[in-house]
């Protein structure tokens, strides 16, 4: 093997996702390719319906309706994923109010992955992961409704980390949180990445969050990648594709004159 695929932690080639049949057929992801080096953070940016979360769900094994080549840590992936895959790859979801079982304590939420994978010394692991996500032992026997949104998202990150994965898939991990809590969670994710050498794929509609977290990004519209770019180029406000440029303009705030120049990128080229 040669080329970037040999070194990449995640390599996606010609990923297509199609839902439904006949008149209801939806081509949700079209020929998406990207590679993520170990220890990097890759951003997937787009508006609602762009297919960014669908790419993540195909990567995570939550969605079997995909075709193409997905290679993770050198292993070509099939539709069905085994336990070993989930030991390597974990996911954090957008809504911390929906992703934690409401009748399970934090302790039970964190215990479940350990039990499934038969890991030793659960006591120590739970205490350690609570410490690492900045919650501490006093949160161990609380229920999700006794926690704030930011604390819940920390539990969700802890649940993903407790298996000591090498890759975290992050689906809008802070978009349900207040900005002050968002800052804390983003800092936590950055620190964990440095300490553990994790590789992240971050899906977000927020260009500022992506610019802050990522090394490289792909901009998606209507299921296809319209542009792949280095974060430095985004920071200099110099993307090439007009769609990306419009997203950058829009994320800088309200500008009446600029809005009148907005184009509709509705149709697929």
């Amino acid at each position: 093997m040669s080329g970037p695929a040999a070194e990449a932690m995640i390599d996606v080639r010609d990923l297509n996702v199609i839902f439904g049949k006949g008149a209801d057929r939806v081509h949700a992801v079209r020929d998406v390719s990207f590679a993520v080096a170990e220890g990097a953070t890759y951003g997937l940016v787009g508006e609602s319906g762009s297919g960014k979360s669908t790419v993540l769900r195909a990567l995570s094994g939550l969605n079997p309706d995909w075709s193409g080549t997905v290679t993770i840590a050198g292993q070509p992936q099939t539709r069905r994923r085994g336990k070993a895959f989930y030991k390597l790859v974990q996911m954090v979801f957008q809504d911390p109010y929906g992703s934690l079982h409401p009748r399970h304590t934090v302790d039970r939420i964190l215990m479940e992955p350990l039990a499934i994978h038969g890991l030793s010394d659960p006591e120590r692991r739970i205490e350690q992961v609570l410490e690492e996500v900045g919650l501490g032992p006093q949160f161990r026997f609380r229920y999700p409704h006794q926690l704030s949104g930011g604390q819940r998202q920390r539990v969700a990150i802890g649940r993903a980390l407790i298996l000591e994965p090498r890759i975290l898939l992050l689906d809008e991990p802070t978009s349900a949180l207040d900005v002050s809590v968002q800052a804390e969670v983003l800092n936590l994710l950055q620190r964990l990445k440095q300490e553990r050498g994790l590789t992240y794929v971050l899906v977000s509609h927020n260009l500022a969050v992506v610019a802050h977290m990522c090394n490289e990004l792909a901009v998606m519209n209507h299921g296809a990648v319209v542009e792949r770019l280095d974060v430095e180029r985004l920071k200099r406000h110099e993307p090439q594709h007009p769609y990306t440029r419009q997203l950058v303009t829009a994320s800088l705030g309200y500008d009446r004159a600029a809005i009148d120049r907005f184009e509709d990128f509705g149709s697929v080229g």
């Binding site: 508006e47 900005v179 610019a211 802050h212 977290m213 829009a250 809005i259």
Partner: protein
């Protein structure tokens, strides 16, 4: 300066609970002219309760009190329920955050918009229908005829929100209270919807209270900004001077936002000072 459209003085919203009194809004005062006033705060800051208490929509056991709550010469605290029904919708209307819970699920959306018009204007059905179609076009819905016939579950969240805005604007209100009207929308659509509201303020002299958690958006869109924290107003400033705001809470909120051209280093974390609760405006 002309008399303000809305004057709020020492507004309080309390909820008695088993664990004691929860003060959602703790004595705030501001006034509004024919301008865009932003109310910014994090969850639980009391910004939505402020909007709802102006329309007397805070339901029991919530208690609203104020030294003064006056809209265009009308004392909103003393107004009868019948007077309030005339005010709601026609003079002051409110766009809520989630269209899914605000639209009637078993009625075509176009008919709901036309109904909002006919509630306040004695006009024939045909004219109400035509006005509703015009309004749908004004909020940038591409195929108004088709959307008019659609039921709420058949439209996307973004379109639902634009339908809500059309419904709230069709009676031609003097004051629009918009509670996070665009936070569910994609950023480009969000700005296009704000442009519609902006034009109504500048062309028709409507007053707008724009409730949001998005500091950057409010700073670039509104004329003045009220910053709320824990039921109190921390500071009121001109939107264009927000970057130079003095209050540590405002500064903290601004600095913890990641920036598109930032350097990727750790974001400053907001430190909350209990003294802020004692010294609101």
């Amino acid at each position: 300066m002309a008399a303000p459209l809305l004057t709020v003085e020492d507004l309080r919203v309390d909820f008695p609970t088993r664990k004691g009194l929860v003060q959602a809004v703790r004595g705030i005062s501001f006034s509004l002219g024919r301008e865009k006033l932003g109310i910014v705060g994090e969850s639980g800051s009391g910004k939505s309760m402020t909007g709802r208490s102006i329309l007397r929509l805070v339901s029991a056991p919530g208690q609203v009190t104020a030294k003064r709550l006056e809209f265009d010469g009308i004392d909103l605290q003393r107004a009868s329920e019948a007077q309030m029904r005339d005010i709601r919708g026609e003079r002051i209307s409110m766009v809520m955050q989630d269209p899914k819970f605000s639209l009637n699920p078993v009625m075509r959306v176009g008919e709901q918009i036309a109904e909002a018009y006919r509630t306040h204007q004695k006009v024939p059905r045909d004219e109400a229908r035509r006005r509703a179609l015009d309004m749908l076009a004004a909020v940038r819905i591409r195929d108004p005829e088709r959307v008019y016939r659609a039921y709420p579950h058949e439209v996307s969240g973004g379109m639902g929100q634009r339908i809500m805005i059309a419904m709230m604007l069709i009676p031609d209100p003097d004051l629009l209270i918009a509670d996070e009207p665009t936070s569910a929308l994609d950023v480009t659509v969000q700005l296009q919807v704000l442009a519609i509201l902006d034009d109504l303020v500048t062309q028709r002299g409507m007053g707008l209270i724009f409730i949001s958690h998005d500091l950057n958006l409010v700073a670039s869109f509104c004329d003045r900004v009220v910053i709320m924290y824990a039921g109190r107003i921390m500071e009121i400033c001109d939107a264009k001077n927000l970057a130079a705001a003095q209050h540590p809470y405002t500064r903290g909120l601004l600095s913890c936002l990641p920036k598109i051209d930032g350097d990727g280093s750790d974001l400053p974390v907001l430190r909350r000072d209990p003294a802020w609760l004692e010294h609101g405006l």
